[in-house]
Structures are given as structure tokens and as C-alpha cells.
């Protein structure tokens, strides 16, 4: 019985340390989530008080052609960006893993530099690089006799241009995959070679399983961030009248539309409903990916779902 009072002080102290988190959880997470859901059932313009609208906003979303366009654009981008970005990053990481020492460190730094460029600056840079008449990209294509498209004004080419821009930012994914490759034990390759496995077989049967948890991780993170794409696209195609007219709705990404509804048109109820739809979409896609991932991810000694990455 002697330890009981001491345990209670310890518990009290524990909660002192957790206090900032608990306050933040209530004020900035749980509270806003509840508020956001309640708001999504109202019409609210910040000036007059919220008016109950039932499921009106959700019904409205189903009919709103801009919602359909925004979902379509965001899906188009995500479906192209995620596999392309990971394939290229994996290729770079595999090459980094083949050369060793200082050269690898140097190239890794180079590949990461674009990721240190603020997204607004990336958007600005690519407005110039993708310029249809005289941009660097089309002048480069011109060297091979290719007449490049009007990336920033032709609605059919706006999204491919955005995908191209996104592939400049592979640094983080490359570093994660490179770190995973370096952790693959050499003996496994030696054993595979003794068994007569060729390069492709070694890649399929040793490399891929051994880095599968890192691959899984970058798929999930890249998907979630792609679905919330905002900064670069908003910089390039929104905010001023002329910018918006030049591309039509081709660059209307989901979070861009949510932002417009909430903070430009002050349709805060509708924006909240849009936010919940986005949350639902992300949750469903993530669950599907985790389910599919658990089947192919190889966990070294750890059971699936142990989220304790990153110690040491």
C-alpha cells in the first residue's frame, strides 16, 4: 500500500505534461470536427447566423458540376502522380544504392533540393518553364523536333503539366526508399546469387519484399498529399481573374474548390460538407490501401500494424 500515494502523484504529473495536448485536442481537433459536421448541416455566411439546412449541402454537392470536375481533376492527378513519382524515385534510389560513399550523398542532396523550394515558388517557376510559346520545357522538346503543347492554357494539357511539375519534387520519397534499400542485408543478395538468381530475380525476390514496408508507406503518404494538392495549383491558376479564365476548370482541384467556397464565397456550411466528403474519400482509399498492403508487405519480425517505425 505504500506505493499508492506516490502512484497518484505520478499520474497527476503525467497529466500535467499531457495538458497542452489535451487542450489542443479539444480546442483544435475534436471541437472543430464536431463544429464542422454541424456547420455542414447549415447555411452560414459568417454575417447572419447559421440557418439549418439538413442534408441540403450534401444534396447540393451531388448536383454541383464543379464538385464532379474537382473530384475528376484530383483523381486524374493522383492516379498519374503516385505511380510515376514512386517509380522514378525508386529508380533514383536504386542507382544511389549502387554507387557508394560521398558521390551518393552528393546526388541525394541534389535530388532533395527541389523539395526545399516553397510550393508558391515552384508554381511560379513552372508558369515560366511550361510557357507554351517560349518555356524551357517546350524549347527542350523543340531540340528533338517536338512541337510542345500549350501546357498552361490548353485545358487538355493543364493537368499533365501539373503532373510534370510534381515529378520535380521527388526528394523525400527518394530519401525514404534509399534509406530502406541500404537496410537490406547484403547476405540476402549473396545467398540469392549462390542460388543462381539473376538481377531481375534478385530485385523481385529480395529487394521488393525487403523494402515493401517503405514502398507501402510512400504510396499512402503520396496519395494523401496528392488528394489535398493546393499551393502550386492555386498559385498558377487561381487568385486573379485572368489566371482563372485561361485554364477554365481544368485546374480546379478539390481543396482549391473547398477554399473558394469557404473563404471567397463565404459558403462555410457548404465548404464544411465538402471537407467531410474529402475526409470520407481519403479514409476509404487509405483503408483499401492498408488492406491491400497488409497482404504484400513483409514485416521483419514485427506484426503487421505495429506503427513503431523510426526508433534508433
Amino acid at each position: 500500500m505504500r506505493t499508492r500515494p506516490r502512484l497518484r502523484t505520478e499520474t497527476r504529473w503525467a497529466y500535467v505534461f499531457l495538458l497542452p495536448w489535451l487542450l489542443g485536442l479539444v480546442i483544435f481537433q475534436v471541437g472543430p470536427m464536431v463544429a464542422s459536421f454541424v456547420l455542414s448541416l447549415t447555411d452560414y455566411d459568417l454575417i447572419s447566423s447559421p440557418r439549418f439546412a439538413g442534408l441540403g449541402n450534401y444534396a447540393e454537392m451531388l448536383k454541383d458540376p464543379k464538385v464532379a470536375a474537382a473530384i475528376g481533376n484530383t483523381a486524374f492527378y493522383t492516379v498519374l502522380h503516385v505511380p510515376l513519382a514512386i517509380a522514378i524515385a525508386l529508380l533514383l534510389a536504386l542507382m544511389l544504392n549502387r554507387i557508394t560513399g560521398r558521390a551518393a550523398g552528393f546526388f541525394r542532396t541534389v535530388f532533395y533540393l527541389p523539395s526545399m523550394t516553397p510550393y508558391v515558388a515552384v508554381g511560379v517557376l513552372f508558369l515560366f518553364l511550361l510557357n507554351g510559346q517560349a518555356g524551357l520545357v517546350n524549347q527542350f522538346l523543340g531540340l528533338f523536333g517536338i512541337d510542345g503543347p500549350q501546357w498552361t492554357t490548353d485545358p487538355a494539357w493543364v493537368k499533365p503539366g501539373i503532373v510534370l511539375m510534381s515529378l520535380w519534387n521527388l526528394g523525400t520519397t527518394t530519401i525514404i526508399l534509399f534509406a530502406a534499400l541500404r537496410n537490406v542485408p547484403r547476405e540476402l543478395y549473396e545467398a540469392a546469387m549462390i542460388d543462381g538468381a539473376g538481377p531481375w530475380q534478385r530485385f523481385r525476390s529480395v529487394t521488393v519484399p525487403m523494402i515493401s514496408s517503405a514502398l507501402f508507406f510512400v504510396v499512402i503518404v503520396n496519395t494523401i498529399t496528392s488528394l489535398q494538392m493546393f499551393d502550386q495549383v492555386y498559385t498558377m491558376y487561381f487568385g486573379s481573374q485572368s489566371a482563372q479564365q485561361s485554364s477554365g476548370d481544368a485546374a480546379l482541384f478539390y481543396v482549391v474548390y473547398l477554399f473558394q467556397q469557404g473563404f471567397q464565397f463565404l459558403h462555410m456550411g457548404y465548404a464544411s460538407a465538402l471537407a467531410w466528403l474529402l475526409f470520407a474519400i481519403i479514409a476509404v482509399i487509405t483503408v483499401i490501401q492498408v488492406k491491400a498492403g497488409n497482404r504484400f508487405v513483409y514485416y521483419e519480425s514485427e506484426p503487421p500494424g505495429a506503427a513503431e517505425r523510426g526508433t534508433r
Binding site: E10, W21, P32, M116, L129, S240
Partner: protein, 280 residues
């Protein structure tokens, strides 16, 4: 068989050098174009030096927009955001790492759970909170939410604190140290590398942020660099008054300080990403 690894290594070096050129050249183009007169912006895109040389573009930016104020704002907001999130997250992380108490599992689950919540869901109500306390239109909403810690950094720092052998703390307890002493004098100094990782990541995130300045700031004098650069694009690229050289020079000014910070803290960025898988 003997020279094969050598040739293979050379092949990969060449391939990586080519890839590096693709990733680096847009920077070169940006800096070179920012130093050329407007009529030559798009001319000779493969010549990696400015001709004719026009450094007065940077003087023009200075006259066109309060760049220095924006830079100072960005540094202040970034420093506040990084400092508050690092200290508060470490404080909370220590609570989770050191103490054993009822409800710990559930509460730590709530930390991991909020990492899944897209920020779009809380965007509107968070604005209404800051609006109700009269702080919209100030820079406070850009960082003050960080006073309550952030899930990702709490997770990162807890992992780090867990790796400190427990007898270190117990020995200090026997010597009469309070729990706050354990945190300030033992846990924090030992966690220096992890604290720096949290600090530089948050500094970068704050420097990247466009959404919050768009939502909360109206007065151009309070803008951060990304918000200011967006205003410059709207005026001098998309607007009726095309002055590309100003847009390009402002782009360089927005980017360059962060690249310098990266080279200073490079070790921590790479280590942080490699061990935690932080998205960039």
C-alpha cells in the same frame, strides 16, 4: 569479371549526373532569368549565365513590394511556429514516454489518430475560433496552434525519449530531481538531435505555408514571403502589368534563404526523413 563492377559504377554515375542536371537546371534557369532584362527572359534558355546582365531587377522588386518586411515576417512566424511546436511537443512526448498511467494507450492512440485527420476538415471551424477572439488579420493564427504540440513531432520525440535508458532518470530521481528537472535537465539536452529535426521541419513547413496566410492576412505589410510572392504573381504575371523580371527575382528571394538553411541543417533533414518518413 574483374572490371565489370567498375564499368557498372561508372554507368550509374553518368546516369545519376544526367538526372541531377534535370533536377538542378530549373534552379539555374530561374536565377539566370531573374538577372536578365524582361525582353530576354525566355531567350537562350540553355545559356547558363545572364546576358545582358540586369541586376537592377532586384532593385525593382525592392521598390515594387515590401520584400524585406515579408522576409522578416517569414522569419518571425517561422521561428515562433518552430519554437512553440518543438517545446510543447517535447513536453507532451516526455509525458507519454516517462509516465505509466491509466488511459495512456487510448490517449497516445488519439495522437496517432489526429495524424490521419486532413487539415481541410478543421479549416472552417479553426477560422471561426480565431475570428471569435478577434485575431484574424494578425499573424498569431499562423503559429499559435503550435502551442499545443503536434502529433507527428510528439510521436518522433516520444520515440527518442524512450531510447534513453530509464536508469538515467531513476538516478536523478534518487538525487532529488523533480519531474520538471527530469524533463529540462536530462530529457531535453539528450534529445538535442531530435529537437533540431522537429525545429527545422516545422520552420520549413511554416516557410512553405500559403493557405493560412491567404485565410488570415489581409494587410500586405503582414504577408509572409509565399503570400507576398502570390500577390506579386497576381499583379505582375497574371495582371495587366506584366513585369516578369520582378516575379522571377521575388521567386529567388523567396527560395534562397530556405536553401541556405537546408545546407546548414542538411544532416538533420536527411536523418529526419530517413528515420521517420516525414513527408516533405
Amino acid at each position: 569479371m574483374t572490371s565489370a563492377p567498375e564499368t557498372r559504377r561508372a554507368f550509374f554515375l553518368v546516369m545519376l549526373a544526367a538526372a541531377s542536371a534535370v533536377f538542378l537546371y530549373p534552379f539555374v534557369w530561374l536565377v539566370v532569368a531573374s538577372l536578365k532584362p524582361r525582353s530576354r527572359t525566355f531567350a537562350d534558355p540553355f545559356v547558363p549565365w545572364p546576358h545582358p546582365f540586369s541586376p537592377q531587377n532586384y532593385a525593382a522588386v525592392w521598390d515594387a513590394a515590401p520584400m524585406l518586411a515579408w522576409l522578416v515576417n517569414t522569419l518571425i512566424v517561422g521561428f515562433m511556429a518552430a519554437l512553440t511546436v518543438t517545446v510543447s511537443s517535447a513536453f507532451v512526448a516526455f509525458g507519454f514516454a516517462y509516465f505509466r498511467f491509466p488511459g495512456r494507450g487510448v490517449l497516445f492512440g488519439s495522437v496517432l489518430g489526429t495524424m490521419m485527420l486532413p487539415s481541410a476538415v478543421t479549416l472552417v471551424p479553426t477560422y471561426l475560433i480565431w475570428n471569435s477572439v478577434g485575431l484574424t488579420g494578425t499573424q498569431v493564427p499562423l503559429w499559435a496552434g503550435n502551442l499545443f504540440g503536434s502529433a507527428f513531432y510528439i510521436f518522433l520525440l516520444r520515440q527518442f525519449f524512450l531510447s534513453i535508458p530509464r536508469y538515467v532518470f531513476e538516478a536523478a530521481r534518487v538525487d532529488g530531481a523533480s519531474y520538471l528537472d527530469l524533463f529540462w535537465r536530462i530529457a531535453l539536452p539528450l534529445a538535442r538531435p531530435a529537437l533540431i529535426i522537429a525545429f527545422v521541419f516545422e520552420l520549413k513547413a511554416s516557410w512553405f505555408d500559403l493557405m493560412k496566410p491567404l485565410i488570415y492576412l489581409q494587410d500586405p505589410r503582414l504577408f509572409t514571403l509565399p503570400r507576398g510572392l502570390k500577390a506579386i504573381v497576381d499583379q505582375f504575371y497574371q495582371g495587366g502589368d506584366p513585369k516578369w523580371e520582378i516575379v522571377l527575382a521575388a521567386g529567388v528571394i523567396t527560395t534562397l534563404p530556405l536553401i541556405v538553411i537546408f545546407f546548414i541543417g542538411q544532416r538533420y533533414f536527411v536523418e529526419g526523413i530517413a528515420t521517420t518518413g516525414q513527408r516533405g
